[in-house]
């Protein structure tokens, strides 16, 4: 008798367990799908927030003035026109400005790539007296705000003199402003924009490479420089791509040094600041009428101009996005 009751109880208990598990299962799967749905909405929504402003820029750049004041026009212009782009194109002197920017960005990023790789190698693979102090100084250069050294640097290049050598030879100090020289000199010595970060990246990379690789090359009789460029460099290519891409992009968008050193030469980032003024100038030349742009129209022009500035970057990003994202993962570079 007892055993029957017991077995019944056990059966009963098992039954409720199964039931509970079933109920839990449906609840569980419901919460899984619900969560997936919420997540999907959030992920897509943020995608929208991210891409929307950029897309909007493109729409606005082809709007006509009537579209701008038309309240029914939100995104797609009713009478699309390339008039804005044409106006901005000529006011910015786009082809020559683009060429200036391209030249400057490529020159500086190649320079920075070479110098930071060499310097990073020096810090990563050798032991010499004072290395740690010097490397601490590399880190410190990242903390010094560019504003702090802005004025002396400006004067430095305005009256450039290499330890009194140049004025001895030529009799006067030379003005390096409005040329690429300030950028080139600073890049070649690893002092350019965010170069402390690049040196840090290259040093981390070289430090983690196996010692045996180098030693084997030495045993085989390769010289130190040959070891560097035949053994070490080829395996450092991923880190070098990172440094190149970021220094190119940051030079492209930089206004700080460009404003400081290039007052007459226009690059895209500095041409952008004066675009409203340039357009009124241009209209004055063409028609002889002095116009003042309304804020809305003026902002439409600046918007179009800024689109022209970042379009090359967007193209670069589309082509090389894999390298960008991967290199951040690998090196922790921060924009």
């Amino acid at each position: 008798m007892k055993t029957i009751i017991q077995s019944w109880q056990i059966q009963r208990q098992q039954q409720t367990k199964v039931n509970r598990r079933k109920r839990q299962f449906t609840l569980y799967s419901l919460s899984v799908y619900g969560w997936a749905l919420v997540r999907g909405i959030i992920v897509l929504g943020i995608c929208f927030i991210i891409l929307y402003p950029t897309l909007l820029k493109i729409f606005v750049s082809v709007m006509s003035e009537s579209d701008l004041y038309d309240v029914t026009v939100k995104y797609i212009p009713k009478s699309p026109t390339f008039e804005n782009i044409k106006k901005v194109w000529t006011a910015m002197k786009y082809p020559s400005t683009l060429w200036n920017t391209l030249k400057l960005s490529i020159l500086t990023s190649v320079m920075q790539l070479i110098s930071c790789t060499i310097i990073g190698y020096g810090f990563g693979r050798f032991n010499f007296k004072g290395k740690n102090i010097l490397f601490a100084l590399v880190i410190l250069t990242m903390i010094v705000p560019p504003q702090t050294i802005m004025i002396p640097l400006f004067l430095h290049f305005r009256y450039f003199d290499l330890f009194g050598l140049i004025s001895k030879i030529t009799g006067s100090k030379i003005n390096l402003l409005n040329s690429e020289w300030p950028f080139l000199l600073m890049s070649a010595t690893g002092m350019g924009l965010k170069n402390g970060l690049y040196i840090y990246i290259m040093r981390q990379f070289f430090r983690n490479m196996p010692k045996e690789l180098e030693e084997a090359a030495y045993v085989d009789g390769a010289s130190m420089f040959r070891t560097f460029y035949q053994i070490m460099l080829p395996s450092a290519v991923p880190a070098m791509v990172t440094v190149f891409l970021f220094s190119f992009v940051w030079q492209w968008t930089d206004t700080f040094y460009s404003n400081l050193f290039l007052q007459n030469v226009k690059v895209l980032s500095t041409a952008l600041s004066s675009i409203s003024f340039d357009i009124t100038q241009q209209i004055y030349w063409e028609t002889g009428v002095e116009v003042s742009l309304s804020p809305a129209v003026s902002s439409m022009y600046t918007n179009t101009a800024s689109l022209l500035v970042i379009i090359p970057l967007i193209l670069l990003y589309i082509v090389a996005q894999k390298y960008f994202v991967e290199s951040i993962e690998r090196t922790g570079i921060v924009g």
Binding site: I46, V60, I143, A188, S299
Partner: protein, 295 residues
């Protein structure tokens, strides 16, 4: 032995461009700016030594110094936590096994590529104008238009949203760190019956704390130096609500040509960043967790 000695001198040779550049383009300007900070200097005439007058003026009579300082601190304390929290949130979302994660990652990183450039700042001004798209958008839900850039109470917030929008690089770094966390930790916690939130605070956060620290330091330094955003979007206005410290430095140098005073201002900025970075480093031993004991 001889081989290694030679090898070490070669090391010096490799970094010699850096030493040269450091002396010429960093240390010399750095020292000179300290020298200028004790002078009255308008670039055209020779600097005139005036002792601590610049610093005394700054703390006693400059009406814009304290507002600018306050704005920069407010900007830093607003931007950095918002940006990092948002970046971490998105990273956690993307880390949950999701299809086509790479497409989203690529899209999310896009704004960061433009950096703190003028182009993006112009875009921001355009979006948040009174007749701008944001107001049109919230009008859709029946919300009255907000004067995002004209209202002194929220203008700085609007400007700092731009930095938050560029959360991509922090997010990618977080994402890389999240992928490194061994799954066994979560499994063990689940067996012990820890909830999702508990798992996040007891496993995820400690495991990514070194990366959090790195992001925190970099973003703090960047935020202190922020110039382009406030300068282009609102030009320091309205009523100096977005007049951050670096605009003050820039204006004194290139608008009023008070190079000496501007140098003094920039030295205070440098010291401020130094102190904050040092504090972050000091505090890090209390809240960052390294598996190998931090060696």
């Amino acid at each position: 032995m001889k081989y290694y000695e030679r090898k070490n001198y070669t090391g010096l040779l490799y970094i010699s461009p850096w030493i040269f550049g450091f002396l010429l383009f960093k240390l010399y300007p750095f020292v000179m700016s300290l020298v200028y900070s004790f002078t009255e200097f308008n670039i055209l005439d020779k600097p005139k030594f005036i002792g601590f007058d610049n610093y005394i003026y700054m703390f006693t009579r400059d009406k814009l110094f304290f507002p600018a300082l306050k704005n920069t601190l407010a900007y830093v304390f607003m931007t950095v936590p918002m940006k990092l929290a948002f970046a971490l949130f998105i990273a956690v979302l993307l880390n949950l096994k999701l299809k086509n994660i790479n497409i989203f990652r690529t899209a999310y990183y896009l704004p960061s590529i433009f950096g703190g450039s003028v182009a993006v700042s112009i875009l921001w001004r355009f979006l948040f104008m009174k007749e701008g798209i944001i107001n049109k958008f919230i009008g859709f839900f029946g919300i009255k238009p907000v004067d995002w850039l004209g209202n002194p109470d929220i203008a700085l917030f609007t400007v700092s949203l731009l930095a938050v929008w560029q959360f991509g690089s922090s997010m990618v770094i977080f994402l890389a760190a999240l992928k490194q966390i061994p799954n066994e930790l979560y499994e063990a916690a689940m067996v012990d019956g820890a909830s999702g939130i508990r798992r996040f605070f007891s496993i995820t956060l400690p495991m990514i704390s070194p990366v959090m620290f790195f992001n925190l330091v970099m973003q703090t330094i960047n935020a202190f130096q922020e110039f382009t955003g406030p300068y282009v979007i609102t030009n320091g206005g309205p009523m100096n609500a977005t007049y951050v410290y670096s605009i003050h430095v820039y204006d004194n140098a290139f608008r009023y040509f008070r190079m000496g005073y501007s140098s003094a201002l920039s030295w205070i900025l440098f010291l401020l960043i130094m102190i904050f970075t040092a504090l972050l480093f000091k505090s890090s031993s209390y809240w960052t967790y390294y598996e190998d004991g931090g060696k």
